[in-house]
Symmetry: C2
Subunit: 106 residues, 2 copies
Amino acid sequence: MQKQELTKEQEQMARFAKAMGHPIRIAILQMLASQTCCFHGDMSELLPIAKSTLSQHLNELKDAGLIQGEITPPTVKYCINRENWALIEKLLGGFIESVANSKGSC
Amino acid sequence: MQKQELTKEQEQMARFAKAMGHPIRIAILQMLASQTCCFHGDMSELLPIAKSTLSQHLNELKDAGLIQGEITPPTVKYCINRENWALIEKLLGGFIESVANSKGSC
DNA sequence: TTCTTAATTCGCAAAATTACGAATAATAAA
DNA sequence: TTTATTATTCGTAATTTTGCGAATTAAGAA
């Protein structure tokens, strides 16, 4: 049997999951989804990390496609990347469900 | 406004997501769910990594509670941790859905 | 006991992640 | 132009992750 190549879909799912793989980033996403606040400054007041660290986390979420940022000087407004969350729901949500509902047992 | 503490739930979600944050581990979970194979040896023949690296990934999945291992010498049988996947579906699946369906927009 | 098979652990190296404060941009207001 | 505000980038450090091959463990078979 041949070695499997990893598929683009597997890579994409892992990328999304990895971006969610930090409690601060979960908290950020929850804030953005609940619309409690959207500004870097507001979030930095709520989260127990330095502003510069927050910027890094926001950047990772942006790079992975989970959020979008819009500059409205002197602040920056962040929001959920809705287009990609449809894909995340399909890929990662579908994956979680399919594993949870699978019958394979050893 | 006070600094938020991260909740246990946020920590748990991040832990689960992080464990899924690698394409090899996604592939492992898919194999186990589809019951294509459950043995370390079988998986090491399919996946493009060394056996020792596979062991590390399996260990991380086990530590995070996503899979279980059972020793049946001279092989080891792995399978989905069904109990925890119910929680994963609720926490992480629920989270993904709630973000995807949220209305917050900036 | 010795040999074989299967999987893990060890030892190491390279790369990525996480975090902070200081320095830097970039814009609006004075 | 100078000042104030906001967010990012830079420089640095500590830790974690990822990966490999060699060595080790563990059990059954010869």
